[in-house]
Each structure stands twice: as C-alpha cells, then as structure tokens.
C-alpha cells in the first residue's frame, strides 16, 4: 500500500525530483507513461510522468513543480518517508520508431518528462534535436541529461538569462525556417506552449505529437475528468492517450478545462501554507 521515497533532490527552486520504490511499476514502465500519486490519505490523486525507472532496482523517478497542495505535500517528503499511493504505469507508451529526424520539445517540468522520450528516439536510431525552455535559467532543469540523449540541444528562456530569449515555439519556428526538416515533432509542457508549437508545425506540414496534461482523477478510464476533443471526437487522455496528434487537439477547450478549479486550488494552497509551511516546527 505505502511506497517508500528512496531519495529526494531539489533541482531548482520549487522543482523536486524523487525516486519511489515501486518494483511492479518499474518492471512494466515504458517511455510516455505516467503514474497516479496520492501523498497521504486525505490527498488528491494527481498524474505525474515517469521520468526514469530501474526494473532491476525497483524504483521510478518523478519530477514535479511545487505549484499546488499535492505537489507541495510531495515536496515535503524526505528520503525514507512513505507515499500513500502510487498506481501505474498508466496511459499508452510513446510510439517509438526510426523516423529519421525527430524534434523533441520540453517546457518547464516538461523537460524531465521529455527525457525518456528523447532517449528512446535516440536509441531507435533517430537524429534527435531537443528544444528545451523555461521561464528563467534557474528553472531550467535536466539540461545535462537531455544533452546526453540528443544530437543537438537548443535552449530558450523567457527572460534570456540562458540561450535564446523567448519561447521554445520561437526556436521551433526558426529551425523550421532554416531548412531543418524533421520527420516528427514530439512535445510536452504547458498547454499554451504546446498549442503554439502545434500551430507552427501544422503551418509547415510537419507531423506533431503532443503529450496532453488535463486534470485527472482515476487515471484509468473510469471517470472522464481528463477528456479532450481530438479530431472532433471526445477522448479520454488517460487511457486513449496521453499522446495525440497535436494538429487535431482542441487546445482552447483543454486550456479552459485546466482552469476549472483555479479558485479551489488557490483556497486549498493558502490553507495548506497557513497550516503546514508556516509552522515548520510541526515537521
């Protein structure tokens, strides 16, 4: 029932990486899949992408941005402490093949999520161009690991503190203008980033796949909280995705659905900060 946190590292302000002992999940995991995590009994079920895993050692690695109650609770877990629940691996694995040249785009905590995908594309014999981006250089995580599995890496920061000043979509547009002709674009990150990249890819006639990040509850096709419109049809991202053809996704609908509980999320986080973070003596 409970799963031990084996190690924890702070990668950047508010971005944490944890390894969790979950041998069954580690044995079955494939690139592109995710898990559902609950920090404690009163917690919420949230999806997190599998960033790495070891079947022989029985652990899975997760990276998250402390943004709401659940991710803050996860961020407070120290090595040796227990997670209440983890289920997975969920979703369909990424379709990895030898396509030729593949552009992998990761934004924010999407960079660690893109890492196993870039690795798999590289191992399958593709020429991998990675575009990674963050708001600022301090929040740019997993650059080294992305470099290990890419032939080219392009870095973008919104404030220009590292690499190109601007968004990953700007870098993508420039590459495509400069005669880079990828056979496939694969992306993960904030929905708005994926929407922009998707528009650029579509204009250039390049096939693009996006790993969607809707709200989930069950993560296994029972509830439909994660539904998205793809190609005019309602699909459940957790079990028909999370990856879909980016050009067919109704991005505006996804963006609106992601805002559904903004007030509740704020209320819960304020309460949590008041009760837990402001009274560290309790821990």
């Amino acid at each position: 029932m409970y799963h031990r946190v084996l190690s924890k590292r702070a990668l950047a302000p508010n971005i944490k990486e944890i390894d969790v002992y979950a041998p069954r999940i580690a044995r079955a995991a494939k690139p592109g899949q995710f898990v559902i995590v609950m920090p404690d009994e009163k917690g919420e079920r949230i999806p997190l992408t599998l960033v790495d895993w070891s079947a022989s050692e029985g652990w899975v690695r997760l990276v998250f941005l402390e943004i709401g109650v659940t991710t803050h609770k996860l961020g407070l877990k120290e090595a040796g402490e227990l997670l209440y629940h983890i289920a997975g691996p969920l979703g369909n694995p990424t379709h990895v093949d030898k396509f030729g040249t593949v552009i992998v785009i990761g934004g924010g905590v999407g960079i660690p999520a893109a890492y196993p995908i870039a690795r798999a594309f590289k191992e399958a014999g593709n020429y991998v161009i990675s575009i990674i981006g963050a708001r600022t250089s301090k929040l740019l995580v997993y650059e080294d690991r992305i470099r290990e599995v890419s032939d080219e890496v392009h870095v973008a920061t919104d404030d220009g503190s590292k690499g190109f000043k601007g968004f990953t979509s700007d870098v993508l547009a420039k590459l495509l203008e400069n005669d880079v002709a990828p056979n496939l674009i694969w992306m993960v990150g904030p929905a708005l980033m994926m929407k922009s990249c998707s528009i650029i890819a579509k204009k250039r006639g390049v096939r693009a796949v996006a790993s969607l990040n809707p709200i989930m509850v069950c993560g296994m096709g029972m509830c439909g909280a994660c539904r998205v419109t793809v190609g005019g049809r309602t699909r459940f991202a957790c079990f028909e995705g999370p990856e879909f053809e980016a050009s067919e996704v109704d991005w505006d609908e996804l963006l609106k659905r992601l805002n559904m509980y903004r007030n509740e999320e704020k209320e819960a986080l304020n309460r949590f900060k008041r009760l837990v973070i402001s009274t560290p003596a309790q821990r």
């Binding site: 919420e44 289920a87 997975g88 509850v217 609106k256 659905r257």
Partner: protein, 467 residues
C-alpha cells in the same frame, strides 16, 4: 395480516444537510416483530430469489426467537458482506419479489432484517469463528475488489486457497467505495465488512492496474486461476455538442470525487468539486438518484433529474426515487439533451433539450422515446451525465485472447469460464450493468467452477505422475 414494519428514516429536512446515513435500521423489537410475520413456507421461494442463496427462513426464524447471533451466522454463510447487501440490494426484484406474502400484500422486509443482524453483530463485536482451514497449495488471483471479487475471494479462501486480490484504486470495494454515497452506504461499514477478507488471509494489493502494471499472461505464470471482476466502470458519453464544457461531469467522476475522494469535505480533503446552484442530472437509474441527492447535499438550490421516458420506466429503485423526491429533487420527464451552451470561460450555462413522446416498445421492452420536434432549455451551472456505463475495457484491450461480445462484455459459459484457459470472469464485466448482488452471484458460481476445475486438474496431474 400485520403490516410490514417500516424502516425508520431521518427526516428530509435534517438529512439533506449532511452525508450521514438516511435509513436508521430496525431495533431488536422491530426486527422480532417483522420476523414474526414470516410464515416459514417449506418451499422458501425467497431463497431462489437470492443470487447468493442465503437461507432466509432459517435466519428469520432465529430473529423471531431472539437468537440474533445464530441468525448472523446463517446470513454470513450466504453473503460475506451482509451489512452491505442488506442495505443496497434491490430486494423488491430479488428475495422479496418471491416472498409468498408479496402475493397477499407486503413481503417480509428481508433486506432490513439482514441489515439488522449484521449491524447487531457488529455493534457487539460478534465474529463468525473461522474454522481451521486446510491450506491448499493452489494460488488464485482476483482482479477487482468489487462485489463479484469479494464473494469469489472469500469463497475460495474458505476452501483453503491462497488468494490475492488486485485493485487499481487506493481503496478496496469497487462501486461500494467510489459509487454508492455515504448516505446510503457508510464507508465505515464497507471497511468493517472488508476486514473479513483480511481475517480469511486474503492478500489485497492496491494500485495494480491489471493489463498495465502486470498482464494476464504474467499472472498466469504465478497463479493457477484468475477471476476477472473489473466491472462496468467506463462511462457512456452523450455525444452531443458542448459535452466537454466545464462542470459537466460523468456520474463516475462526480461520485468518485464525492465518495472516494471525500470532496464534500474539501478543503480538509484535497480533492475539489464544483458546488453548483442549479444542477441537472441526466438519466433515470440509481446512479442518477445518487448523483442528484449528493448534489443537493453539496448545497445546490435546485436539482433536476432529466429523463427521456416517464416515471414508470425509470430503472432506479422506487425507494430511492421516493427518497430523492422527499429531499426536493425535481423530475422532468420526456426530455433528451441535444447539446449544452457555455459562457466565455467555457463553463456550462444551459442544457438544450428535445421534448420526447413514448412510442412502440424497443428491445428492452420499454416504450421507445421519440423526438417531438419541440425544444426547450434550462439554465444550470453543473451537469452530471448518468446515462450508463460500458464494461471496463482495459483487460479486453490488452488481452485479445479473451473473447468479448459486440458490447465489450467478456463472454463466459454458465459457470464463468472465459475463452482463455484458467481465466474466469463475472459481475458487470460479463453482464454489463447489473446489481451488487447479481455480481456476487457470479463470484460464487465462478468460485465453484475454479474449485471443480482445479480439483480435476490436480487429479489428472497425480494420475500422470503415477504412470
């Protein structure tokens, strides 16, 4: 004839303010009085109406004699979770339907009596002493910890098998924990009843999504037999424009948030839910009643149940329709949603409806609703789609060797054997949408089949060894 003793209930004014149980149950005096109405007919047609074959006249006789503990033992032989089945079985379609007194007036309140003995035993800490079981070497896996899986697992554990239950969610119980609300079935009772599985030495592994975490083929290497009881938890969508607007929930999502995740206790619990002022629930089954009543308790001012036929055709239990009505749920009949309108934030604002009329009976035997061409709409801020469920697709999708029909249900023989050797199935994954007790009946049948098949296999292998 003495009238049936009515089940005491909390008043609607009081109960709609919380999620506590509505029905209060019999006290000893009421139970004895109700039990004394039973005429103990020798042919006991009531037993035939019970999918798990509880010896009903026998336990009722014990109640009449005030031998409550003995009554509990009899009930427990049939249902491993009597505090639950006594509460949620549609007795009017099962045991009570066949009660001889039903023909003369009111049947014996078998469900209420079952619930009484189970609660009585629980309050006094009475346990059924487990007989020393001769352990067998055979290992059996159960996929899904809902009603079918519970009966299958407990039956085989009592026969000495080494049983492991795999459950995908973080709590065991299936629909008993995520679907049926607290006010009909307190979760404390579910947990207490499921503790019996642990007493029997059954191992429950949570967070295991069979088909994803581990495959049927891998399980067959570790286990002698597998029982699939993954239910019908995949929601049917309406397929109309605007269905993905914000705050349009499937009943599964709404009820999972409320029941399993305790969103009604937000922010003490972390899972949020949108508390609507005007809520529309689409559908006429028990799920629709549960969702409507839960929405009221979350503080809605108006809750509408929109149903495409009339009251007579509603599949929900009469008792639950009455409860919902007493609590202030409003029913609008002969309407079918044709779409939804939303505001600029993408939040639902209107349900667009087509008015219907009843036509000739369809394949279900009920009159078919036909569009009249006249439309209307209602303003809402939350919609709950409770039009039904499909069988859970994960195992059929990942194990094509297991034959399914055109509706995604696993095909089994009359004992629960699937097309794959050593793999059995039962409950909603086989029948589509059934009841808790029907699922339990399937669990029992499949347990008997596994026991028989494994015994035959053992005999064969011994014969081979001798030669």
């Amino acid at each position: 004839m003495m009238p049936r003793i009515a089940m005491p209930k909390r008043s609607p004014e009081e109960r709609i303010r919380d999620f506590n149980e509505v029905a209060l149950g019999y006290d000893e005096q009421m139970a004895v009085k109700e039990a004394s109405r039973c005429i103990q007919c020798p042919e006991a047609p009531c037993i035939k109406g019970c999918p798990v074959g509880i010896n009903i006249p026998k336990f009722i006789k014990f109640i009449r004699e005030r031998k409550f503990e003995e009554a509990y033992r009899v009930v427990k032989e049939g249902s491993p979770i009597p505090a639950i089945t006594g509460r949620v079985c549609p007795q009017e379609k099962q045991c009570e339907k066949y009660c001889t007194l039903a023909k003369l007036g009111q049947p014996i309140a078998i469900g209420a009596l079952e619930r009484f003995v189970a609660d009585w035993a629980k309050e006094r800490g009475v346990h059924v002493d487990l007989q020393q079981i001769d352990k067998r070497s055979e290992r059996v896996a159960v996929i899904g910890s809902g009603p079918a899986g519970i009966v299958f697992a407990t039956d085989l554990a009592k026969l000495g098998y080494d049983v492991t239950v795999f459950e995908a969610l973080h709590e065991a119980g299936g629909v008993l924990v995520y679907g049926i609300p607290e006010f009909r079935l307190p979760k404390k009772i579910v947990r207490e009843e499921l503790a019996y599985m642990k007493d029997l030495g059954i191992d429950i592994e949570l967070g295991i999504v069979v088909g994803k975490t581990v495959s049927i083929h891998e399980l067959l290497e570790e286990y002698h037999a597998i029982f699939i009881a993954t239910g019908a938890g995949h929601p049917r969508m309406l397929g109309v424009p605007g269905e993905n607007l914000n705050y349009i929930y499937t009943a599964n999502e709404f009820l999972t948030r409320v029941n399993l995740m305790k969103a009604y206790l937000f922010p003490e619990y972390d899972t949020p839910i949108h508390r609507g002022r005007r809520v529309a629930v689409i559908g006429g089954g028990n799920t629709a009643m549960d969702a409507a009543r839960a929405a009221l308790r979350l503080g809605a001012e108006e809750v509408y149940v929109l149903y495409r036929r009339t009251r007579e055709e509603m599949p929900a239990r009469r008792e639950e329709i009455d409860n919902a009505e007493e609590e202030g749920v409003k029913f609008i009949f002969l309407v079918q949603p044709t779409g939804f309108k939303g505001d600029s934030q993408g939040n639902v604002s209107d349900v667009l409806l087509m008015k219907m009329a009843l036509g000739e009976p369809d394949e279900s035997g009920r009159p078919r609703p036909i569009p009249t061409g006249e439309t209307t709409d209602i303003q809402v801020d939350v919609v709950i789609n409770a039009i039904g469920f499909h069988p859970n697709p994960v195992i059929p999708m990942t194990t094509p060797e297991i034959r399914t029909d055109n509706r995604g249900r696993i095909v089994v023989d009359s004992d629960g054997r699937t097309s794959m050797r050593r793999v059995y199935a039962g409950g909603d994954i086989v029948v589509g949408e059934g009841t808790v007790i029907e699922a339990m009946g399937w669990g029992r049948k499949a347990a008997l089949a596994v026991h028989k098949d494994l015994a035959i296999e053992k005999k064969l292998s011994i014969a081979v060894h001798k030669r």
